[in-house]
Symmetry: C2
């Protein structure tokens, strides 16, 4: 099975939507974006054994490759619409490709993203670059750089679950329902698209959690040239996480664990506890100066975390 | 040097053009496309040792990664405007990255493409996915599927040079000016952007030559559900190629060699010999039925070439 057959069999959609003038199978995709909206383009690469375990189910790999990109669109308050897929793999294993493609299409259906093109190449390992394109009301895209002293710092959902789920998956232990929930938080991240669009009206800055709450919030604060302080007691933890790990271990996963794809944002409002059906929690405050500090039980908590770095 | 420093040092442009609302360094790029035009998105991946020799100069690798994508935009008659870069590499070698980034920016300047985002990750080998975005007059994008019986088959420039240049480069021989010219045809492909826009008015179908004239033309004819016949005597060969190889060898490179990034198109016109300053040659005709055949000195020439396949 060569790459042309792979594309024809697994990646050619049955019908195109009206916004897709030319789709999969030509030199490129031709789209007709909404002229009333700004255009958003994001790209994230996932490398075997770096971003996901090599033995992870191919359907999950495909789903996740789309979801993590949709999450970037969500963090800008945008609406995801189209995607391209650049897939590099060592060999063309039909069973793997079929599962992977199903994951891509499942995520496409879940998030309303249509596959419009891509490139399939051979290489020494699996490398997946998905590019998701979408749109946003003109001038309304959220960035990382608008946080102001006095804003509250908010996070959606319960951070830490996905990193804990990954470590559980890698441990090879038998999974009960609680552990399955945590693993699924890693394998099937639920990009917060509706939430991102809802907070666009109130948020001063936003970022999605891919490298870990502490390091991603540091990026937002740095881009905004402000400082932040988070109260660890306020960070919401899932019942599943709390019944698996406690104390310092829990803090380490919640602050340092990546792959949550929750949204972290700042807003000049007193309290938000839910938006678009997603729980949202105020975990701290933006201040003058620079840097991110934490408190636990009212006392400064010395936490250092560089977050994930590919290169050091 | 971590990936954030790499992006800040080598990939952050000094200023953004007016169409770029949010550029490198946020969750994604926010663009303001021309509302009067259709949007084009293309993506091509280049893998070390598959698409280019591992010891190729990093500046050439960077230039080429952009040019091959711009070529896809050219084949649709479009105007390239923005790009994102997904770069995977084994280690962060500052000298390599500096050269590579210079190549990216050189090509960006050459083709008028602005870097607006990307992703930098670690992996076992160099994998480069460049996505180029651009635009085209509404409904005017050329595809592979419009060729009709009676159309002429045209090719720009002199195919075969780049594949010959690659084989010369890999042979390690000392390069005189003639060989340098051929090598440069591989390392610095000149995507035919102006030509693509000029032929959009007359061409019924078009494709850019990446996998080889024979196999790429086969794709165009297949997508158009027509047949084609090319006269080998008509295929233009560069003086540099002709003085390096002759006879069957020359035919093999001209028909089967890839990486030319010339345009091949069909048009219901009698003769075109130059457009946008690029030599264009009629090499054959479109007919009824299916398949691609060749003639040499008026006699059927039996040529079989599957073109490059990543998987078989």
């Amino acid at each position: 099975m060569d790459e042309f057959e792979i594309i024809r069999r697994y990646f050619k959609p049955g019908k195109k939507s009206a916004s897709v003038i030319v789709g999969v199978g030509d030199d490129g995709a031709v789209l007709r974006p909404d002229p009333e909206r700004d255009f958003i383009s994001v790209v994230d690469t996932m490398v075997e054994s770096i971003h996901f375990p090599a033995n992870m189910h191919a359907e999950d790999i495909g789903f996740r490759a789309v979801a993590v990109n949709v999450s970037d669109i969500a963090a800008m308050g945008g609406r995801p619409r189209w995607m391209t897929l650049a897939l590099t793999m060592k060999e063309a294993d039909p069973a793997w490709i079929e599962d992977f493609a199903r994951g891509i299409h499942l995520a496409g259906d879940r998030f309303g993203v249509e596959l419009v093109g891509g490139d399939t190449t051979r290489g020494g390992e699996i490398v997946i670059s998905v590019q998701v394109m979408g749109d946003v009301r003109p001038g309304q895209a959220m960035t990382r750089s608008g946080a102001r002293p006095g804003d509250g710092i908010y996070v959606s959902g319960t951070p830490g679950d996905a990193a804990l789920g990954l470590s559980i998956m890698q441990s090879g232990q038998v999974l009960d329902d609680r552990l399955k929930y945590l693993v699924r938080r890693f394998t099937r991240p639920d990009a917060r698209v509706e939430l991102g669009q809802e907070i666009a009206d109130v948020a001063s800055a936003a970022i999605d959690l891919s490298d870990g709450l502490f390091t991603d919030l540091e990026k937002l604060l740095g881009a905004s040239a402000v400082s932040g302080c988070i109260e660890l007691n306020r960070i919401p933890m899932s019942q599943e996480l709390r019944s698996t790990i406690q104390g310092e271990d829990a803090i380490r996963f919640v602050l340092g664990g990546g792959d949550d794809y929750e949204l972290c944002f700042t807003a000049a409002v007193d309290e938000i506890d839910e938006l678009a059906g997603v729980p949202v929690t105020r975990i701290g405050n933006v201040g003058e100066g620079r840097g991110l500090t934490c408190t636990l039980d009212g006392i400064t908590y010395d936490y250092h975390d560089d977050g994930y770095r590919h290169f050091r």
